[in-house]
Symmetry: C2
Subunit: 259 residues, 2 copies
């Protein structure tokens, strides 16, 4: 099925592309942000400047995204009426009810084809685009992400990958609409984490919320069925008692495995 | 079904818990890290110190995690033999083949019950745990995340949530094993983004990879069927030409929506 070689290390290494230098960075300053990011459940009345929000939203979109297809959306709910509806859809939890700002992170697996077309337009318009890159968005992505209506290709993909996979490494997912959802949710979650850290770097706090009524949220935002609500993220400044106790993680030895 | 009130803003606000202060942070230093994180496809031969890796792995585990259930695992593949097998399972792409270190981010929805038990043990052993917190892990999580064998509760959950949802906001997911996978993948992706940013803050580079053979990776790591491979992340120092061109994102106006 996939006959095009996606990755060619010789081409990559010999490419005359300009080096993008890795600038010197301040590790401690970064860890100060990361360590002080806590899920804040109660916010103070301090407003979050609009420009701060815009910088954090733009920072979210600098996360890596699978095949650069950017199947994400950030819905910033600002009108008081819609905000109240969103708070209700978030089950009225204080992290939403006391928030200054609310952003819904939305996975859009249904828009992969539109974005793939945009990628092709961009690559065709860029001088010096390597042939492999064009081939990737012309051929590979169209095989990998196209599941057909009602995922009709699923059994064929499954059989083909299973047979091919006996002898050689073969991607196994995504082969149906549910896995396309997962695929887009993962990419959108990367953006959400960028956003929450940026909020903290700007001196504010956040809380990710998955306990919500996704149907009501989709209706509120005018989203189609195929969209997925990755999470809502509230933003504001932590109030006294707004952090529910010190960060608690189980011993990392349970989670970090060495092979 | 869910009769316990999960969130009680009065209890939260009146709690005598100590304030966790938000320290002053350096926004520009953070953005330097975020902006310079690029997906690096070819690495130099510079090794990554073990202590650097350990700090980054620990940083990953400071991401927020749904219901604090920490349904993630980080598999650091260090032995040359296993590394080669992992490179093969990543389809031989140069971002894996030239990497100094490889970490597989794994979603473990199947371990929610074990971790829920650990949370209860922890809360019971902690003086001053609020009743609501105990109730949450005693009752709510056990309703929300328990799908029964082969997701047999799915039709009942669906009917119940649909009826309840007519009148009041009601969570709609997760109601089956596939949605449990998505749930754990989202949490694991948050950790992966923390990790990649920490790697950059430490002066190194990374690349997330989803184009891989998840069955081979699971076999290599000794993981059960129910585990999900969120992504592999390679680590090293960018080589000349290792970044394939400047970051390209479509106009953010397509993705940031205001309501």
């Amino acid at each position: 099925m996939v006959k095009v070689k996606i990755f060619d290390s010789k081409e990559a290494q010999s490419s005359a592309r300009k080096m993008e230098e890795a600038p010197a960075v301040d590790a401690q300053a970064f860890y100060d942000v990361l360590e002080s990011r806590r899920s804040v459940r109660v916010y103070s009345k301090a407003p979050v400047p609009e420009e701060t929000m815009r910088r954090c939203l733009e920072a979210a979109l600098k996360a890596p995204t699978s095949s650069n297809l950017q199947t994400w959306e950030l819905h910033w709910v600002r009108s008081p009426e819609k905000k109240q509806l969103l708070v209700d859809a978030c089950l009225g939890q204080p992290a939403a009810a006391t928030a200054q700002e609310l952003v819904v992170f939305v996975a859009r697996p249904d828009l992969w084809k539109r974005n793939n077309g945009w990628m092709l337009d961009h690559l065709k318009a860029s001088p010096g685009t390597p042939g492999k890159a064009l081939q990737y968005f012309n051929k590979i992505t169209r095989i990998v992400y196209n599941q057909g209506p009602w995922s009709v290709y699923r059994p064929f993909k499954w059989v083909w990958f299973s047979i091919r996979g006996i002898k050689k490494p073969t991607p196994r997912e995504p082969i149906h609409a549910g896995q396309m959802q997962t695929w887009a949710h993962k990419t959108t979650a990367l953006a959400a984490q960028n956003f929450m850290l940026a909020v903290r770097a700007e001196g504010f706090d956040s809380c990710p919320m998955e306990g919500l009524d996704s149907q009501r949220v989709k209706r509120l935002l005018g989203l189609p069925r195929a969209a997925g609500i990755t999470m809502a993220v509230s933003v504001g400044q932590r109030a006294e008692g707004g952090v529910y106790g010190p960060r608690f993680r189980f011993d990392s030895a349970h989670f970090i495995h060495e092979h």
